[in-house]
Amino acid sequence: MASTGLVFIAFVLLHMYGNLHAFAGEENFNEYAEHLRTIGEPMVPYGGVLWIIRIVLIVSLVAHVWSASQLWRRSNEARRTRYAVKKNVHSSLSSRTMRWGGVTILLFLIWHLLEFTIGKVNVAGGATNNPYELLVDSFQVWWLTIIYLVAMVALGLHLHHGTWSAMQTLGFTGSPMARRRAKIAGWVVAVVIAGGFSLVPLFTLFGVITY
């Protein structure tokens, strides 16, 4: 759970940074997208590094979702009869929404890949072979931007708890001070990643990123 979660954190951090190239305009963004495929050439074939990353992510996703489902099942079996009254006053909202939040992220991930990677769906009917155009066309549609923002709220919550939880699972938070630091790291990771991802859709919707 923790190790695969950390793989995802590294990935979303890089992905978020990559998206910000959209602010530098069409040429820069498309060049970046192409560069992702040419990294390491000619040591590795075209798209090779990208495929290695994809395989690591797919394996991590399977392991992450499998572990999550095991925890979910054990949790259900550990308490068959629910409390008539139960207060949760000592825990964060994010810690209690890991499962359904995770499912939300998974559904979003499927849609996201269909839209930009596998299916290349351009809801505005424009070109699909130009990454920048596909991006701008998509986020000029208000409801697509909303879907992305909702997903980023789910991701932010997941990372807020996930970051600290991974530190705790790996045994790095053996003192009150270390615990406080891990919780602050959770906030930073959540705000930087969810916030950073949200910039591109928002600035496109409001016409700053355009072609």
Binding site: L71, S75, R79, R82, A84, K86, Q168, L170, G174, R179
Partner: protein, 247 residues
């Protein structure tokens, strides 16, 4: 004080239970929560109804027997055990819902009493040190660093009440487990069995049907002895070290 009590009544381990409502008048705010239940039971006795079964022993906050979920909080609204909770923490006219600890590994015996022998089996699986019998050894013959001794003493205050399990949304006993692992693992006397201990205690914990920890933190908030969450980090660290070295 006048209270409305909604109490879980269940005749035995296999019977279906339900919440039953009782009105109780004349409760003093100086009474402990258990004394309030004693008053209710006297009333039920005179009315010919089966008194409410609940667990208790020392009534001074050290044995860990009293185990009640009070208005959705383990041991009620204060950081203490149910026996040390006083009625001044409630208001005249309050409705108080009282339920047993809910965990598959703590089966209900009757009403509010649960069987916590799962904890005893976890302790038996590794929560001990080996020492020679005979006369007590000289206490100062094994030096322990002060910070480690203090940490061990602090977490050794765990009374095995099970509030952590009751409060945990996953029904995990990781705080209890972490308290024992940290307590014994910090002291020189706990070293010989340290790595086998963590592996077998975690194995027993899982075999008893407790849930997996996702670091939510309700346990530490409910713990009457304020065992901190860092014992769970220690537990994970010790388990990882032990598995790495093939225990």
């Amino acid at each position: 004080m006048r209270l409305t009590l909604k109490i879980w009544r269940q005749a035995n381990a296999t019977a279906d239970g339900s919440l039953k409502t009782y009105e109780l008048d004349g409760v003093s705010e100086d009474m402990s929560f258990l004394e309030m239940l004693d008053v209710l039971n006297e009333k039920l006795n005179t009315e010919g109804e089966d008194p409410v079964a609940f667990d208790h022993d020392c009534r001074e906050g050290i044995c860990g027997m009293c185990s009640l979920m009070i208005n959705g909080e383990a041991h009620g609204p204060e950081v203490t055990t149910t026996c040390q909770l006083h009625m001044r923490s409630f208001n005249d006219g309050d409705t108080i819902t009282i339920e047993p600890w809910r965990a598959g590994a703590f089966p209900i015996v009757k009403d509010l009493i649960v069987d916590r022998s799962a904890f005893d089996r976890i302790i038996a699986s590794g929560g001990f040190i080996s020492a020679n019998t005979g006369s007590a050894p000289e206490a100062n013959s094994v030096p322990a660093p002060r910070d480690k001794a203090m940490r061990a003493f602090n977490v050794a205050t765990c009374i095995g009440c099970g509030a952590c399990v009751a409060a945990c949304p996953n029904g995990s006993a990781s705080l209890f487990l972490g308290a024992k692992i940290t307590h014994l693992g910090e002291l020189p006397q706990g070293q010989p069995e340290r790595w086998d201990r963590v592996v077998s205690m975690v194995g027993q914990h899982d075999a008893e049907g407790f849930g997996g920890c996702t670091n939510i933190g309700e346990c530490a908030g409910a713990c009457p002895k304020e065992i901190p969450l860092d014992v769970i980090s220690q537990l994970n660290k010790d388990l990882r070290t032990a598995l790495k070295h093939g225990h």
